[in-house]
């Protein structure tokens, strides 16, 4: 096979590499330096003190156990659902499948707001119960408790487990089950000896991802947990933004980085063996029709659970955004268009929508260009040079393993002085978002780029196409949809990004999640209502992007992004 010239490949890769060096390794390196050399001197004792300090030991322990507990609960609830989706065909399956993407792309802040709207002290359920049962106190008091954000974690990750395990389960060769049966295995033996062992990589992969997401959980814990609870991520935010203890924040970030790398590395190893798809439509080719009453009950219970878990919080959010103390109202929405005297904003809140969309478009553009370049680089090295290419692949995936809060923190300690003074620049937000979205874009584009057989390009060349024409007329049309999917992913990630934004947005130009967070942090019904209204708008904007993908999915097969 004719390889593109190495010089050309590196020229293509130089831009993504430069971007990573400037906006990833430089801030991160600074964090490491800051944690070891807090005042410009080498002071490992400080780090040692931190590790020995019971407070931070407790935070680390809390971060771990809440993540572990969230993972276990999510798995227990989602595995029966995965079975139902993998095994059966039923009415409304496609609709539910489309619904499954919603929590996945929903910004954490919106999720938090939605659970507040449903179960919070001022939430719909409490209001109705107090009204209906004539109670003077709200009967449900899970606001500011562990249970509240665990519930949000389940909401967030249930569909992830369902998609990964369900998709993998549905893709298992049904003849394997038939073969076990023919060899005398009962249904239970078939499950335990054949199906379960084969599912283990998918379950492991899903569990690890859930653990990673819960370990780095920020917005949900910050908003629903209240001041009493802090994960590492939340503590980094508090130490740096509220207490200005930068060395301490840096040291915590270092722990966060190390743990995340370990988890991502473990996940990559698991994923390599079993090729778990991250964004797929579950295979329905082998799904069967529902027949016995027991099956009907199993499916009914699971579907009911899904609908209650996934739909009610979102519905409550929208309902709450239109419900004031005296019934239906548009007051919260109209409040978004006015600048109030005692407001937490310097501009009318609705400007946040324009900010977010603007930032998201910029971040999407950067992420897609970088992703395309990096994918081209990685795909062209696929023969022989595999170890080198998988090294660079891992480098590109690093931002995915880094918490956004750490990244945002890194930015404010590095990009605030020459030569790179971006502190007051609007560019900082799209850059941070692009960095977070860039690995996702690569995951979308790379697999379909790799699937193009080299013979196709050779055929085009022999038909007289120049290398540029080959790229333009063969590669781009084939991966066109993957690029689009990547772009929509990047857009949604940017729209919902909160961790890094919490550090880098300027007071005059808040993004929507930041605005929602500020509203939620303020007392009073009008602030609360505006948070609900803003969350509803954010949900609408993010979902319409995925609705667009869905429309395209209907006509063509989706490319698979494997994590």
């Amino acid at each position: 096979m004719k390889q593109p010239r190495p010089l050309f490949r590196w020229a293509v890769f130089s831009l993504p590499l430069l971007f990573l060096l400037l906006f990833y390794f430089y801030p991160l390196g600074k964090i490491v330096l800051l944690s070891f050399l807090p005042d410009g001197n080498w002071d490992p004792a400080r780090l040692g003190k931190l590790v020995n300090s019971p407070v931070y030991g407790r935070i680390l322990w809390f971060t771990c156990w809440q993540a572990a507990l969230s993972t276990v609960i999510t798995l227990v609830l989602a595995l029966p659902g995965a079975y139902v989706f993998a095994r059966y065909r039923f009415f409304g399956k496609n609709l539910l499948q489309a619904l499954m993407t919603v929590p996945f792309v929903l910004p954490t802040v919106v999720t938090a707001a939605a659970f507040r709207a449903l179960l919070g002290t001022n939430g719909l359920l409490n209001t109705w119960l107090m009204h209906g049962l004539r109670l003077s106190q709200p009967p449900i008091n899970i606001d500011q408790t562990v249970a509240f954000f665990l519930l949000a974690h389940v909401f967030y990750n249930y569909t992830l487990v369902l998609r990964i395990v369900g998709g993998f389960w549905g893709g298992l060769d049904p003849d394997l089950r038939a073969a076990a049966k023919m060899l005398g295995a009962s249904p239970w033996q078939t499950f335990r000896r054949i199906t379960l062992p084969l599912l283990m990589p998918a379950i492991g992969s899903a569990a690890l991802l859930v653990f990673i997401f819960c370990f780095t959980s920020f917005g949900v814990v910050l908003i629903l947990g209240g001041p009493g609870y802090a994960t590492l991520e939340v503590e980094i935010y508090r130490q740096s933004v509220q207490l200005f203890n930068l060395p301490m924040a840096a040291a915590l970030s270092l722990i966060q980085i190390v743990v995340n790398f370990l988890l991502m590395w473990l996940h990559a190893r698991l994923g390599k063996r079993s090729r778990i798809a991250f964004y797929t439509d579950s295979a329905s080719g082998t799904a069967i029709k529902v027949e016995s009453p027991a099956e009907k009950i199993l499916i009914g219970v699971n579907l009911l659970f899904m609908v209650i878990l996934l739909v009610t919080p979102l519905l409550a959010l929208v309902v709450r955004s239109f419900t004031g103390q005296d019934g239906l109202t548009l007051a919260y929405y109209s409040a978004l268009f006015t600048t109030q005297a005692r407001s937490v904003f310097f501009v009318e809140p609705i400007a946040a929508v324009a900010n977010s969309v603007g930032f998201a478009l910029a971040a999407m553009t950067i992420a897609v260009i970088l992703g395309l370049l990096a994918s081209t680089f990685l795909a062209s090295a696929r023969e022989r040079g595999a170890p080198v290419s998988s090294f660079w692949d891992a480098i590109i995936m690093l931002p995915l393993a880094t918490s956004a809060v750490t990244l945002g923190f890194g930015y404010i300690i590095t990009l605030n002085r020459p030569p790179l003074n971006l502190r007051d620049s609007l560019a900082l937000v799209p850059i941070a978002h692009a960095l977070v979205a860039f690995p996702f874009v690569v995951r979308c584009i790379l697999p379909s780029l790799k699937q193009i057989p080299q013979t196709l390009r050779e055929a085009a060349t022999l038909l007289g196409a120049s290398p540029y024409q080959v790229w333009r007329r063969v590669d781009i049309p084939i991966i066109g949809r993957a690029i689009l999917v990547g772009a929509v992913f990047a857009f949604s990630i940017s729209m919902g990004e909160f961790g890094a934004s919490a550090f880098v947005t300027r007071p005059h130009t808040p993004t929507m999640p930041v605005a929602i967070f500020r509203f939620l942090g303020q007392p009073g019904d009008i602030n609360y209502g505006q948070a609900m209204a803003m969350s509803s708008i954010l949900m609408l904007v993010t979902c319409s992007g995925f609705w667009l993908i869905g429309r395209l999915d209907a006509s063509k097969k989706p490319p698979q992004a494997s994590l």
Binding site: D175, A178, A179, A180, L183, G184, Q189, P197
Partner: protein, 363 residues
């Protein structure tokens, strides 16, 4: 006409498997209709048919992996319709083998024995015996993804044989292998099955494979059983044009029975032997392609059946020539020996037909 119908209602003690008027539909579409046949202990049956003819469905019905809508399946005289697949003690070899990817060769083969709660030392011995039988000794600890296509096929065969099934079902087990390997393994499978005396049902769409492996062949077409016969009978006397077409016969002439022993067609009146005149409704004459010789090469008697025409195509096939000719307006094809070589394209040719190669059949 369906030869299988004769079996219906017959309670023959020597039959191990009796299938009676079996029907099956899938989402309202009939897949199999009124399938009836019987098989004796130790016989190998081939289900032969084009794709979509229902052969795999029939096999899966026998296995209990699909549910029949009507008809019965008797095994050793017992109705097994209500017996779940894992209690039938039938072996099955799947099209893509369905080897358990998380188990080694040894563990795959041992799986069925473990399900029978076979004691450990006997299990090891029996696994060894079947692996030796299929020629895989030494590969016990290999993983499935380290095996070649041929080796996987052998593991699949060993796995289905290890629990000593009463009936072995094979679903196009050679389908994904290359031609040379297929030919070799076809012979081997027959030898192995015969040495164990296993009763087997084998699905294939390859006529050569079916003929070399089977004691009985069942031709399926659009979910109906067209003919159930020994390979030789089937080849000599296909019952209808569907079967003849599927077997690759191309010399099918329309016409009618003029009088006893004479068939009138576009080639004129042709004599047909009495035993080949069987269907009374016969309106098609089949001339099998191997039933002709060059006129000048044989010391033919004067009353021999002669056929003359012009050569239109001529393919050298190794052991024979396939020639196409036109006699009047009728295109015909024959396989001729390579010595003496037949005339070139465009030249006239005169052939002598073997009367036994002329068979009457119905539409």
């Amino acid at each position: 006409m369906k030869t299988g119908r004769k079996v219906q209602g017959m309670q023959d003690k020597s039959n191990i498997l009796e299938v009676d008027r079996l029907s099956n539909r899938y989402e309202g579409q009939p897949l199999l209709q009124d399938i009836s046949f019987a098989l004796k202990q130790g016989e190998i049956l081939c289900l032969l048919g084009p794709s979509g003819s229902g052969k795999t469905t029939l096999l899966r019905l026998l296995a209990g992996l699909e549910k029949e809508d009507a008809g019965s399946i008797l095994f050793c005289g017992r109705d097994i319709r209500a017996v779940p697949s894992h209690k039938r003690n039938f072996g099955m070899m799947f099209q893509e083998y369905a080897l358990f990817p998380h188990k080694s060769v040894q563990q795959n083969v041992a799986f069925g024995l473990e399900m029978q709660h076979c004691p450990p030392d006997e299990l090891v011995r029996r696994v060894r015996t079947v692996l030796e039988l299929v020629g895989l000794l030494g590969l016990e600890h290999r993983k499935i993804d380290e095996l070649s296509g041929g080796e996987r096929q052998r593991v699949a065969l060993a796995r289905s044989l290890a629990p000593e099934p009463q009936l072995l079902l094979l679903d196009e087990p050679l389908g994904s292998l290359d031609r040379a390997l297929r030919d070799r393994l076809t012979g081997e499978i027959r030898t192995i099955l015969k040495s164990l005396g296993v009763t087997a049902v084998f699905v294939t769409h390859d006529q050569a494979e079916a003929f070399s492996i089977a004691d009985k062949v069942a031709i399926l077409y659009h979910g109906t059983l067209q003919q159930f016969d020994t390979p030789e009978h089937l080849y000599r006397k296909p019952v209808n044009s569907t079967v003849a077409g599927f077997l690759g016969f191309r010399n099918l002439l329309k016409g009618s029975v003029e009088r006893q022993g004479i068939f009138r067609s576009s080639l004129g009146n042709l004599p047909v032997r009495a035993e080949n005149m069987v269907p009374e409704t016969a309106n098609i004459l089949l001339i099998r392609p191997e039933g002709a010789t060059l006129a000048h090469s044989s010391t033919a008697k004067d009353d021999a059946l002669r056929l003359s025409g012009t050569i239109t195509s001529r393919q050298f096939q190794g052991s024979s020539y396939r020639i196409g000719l036109r006699s009047g307006d009728t295109p015909l094809a024959f396989d001729l020996p390579i010595d003496p070589p037949p005339p070139e394209i465009g030249r006239p040719i005169e052939l002598i037909l073997n009367p036994s190669a002329l068979v009457l059949l119905s539409e």
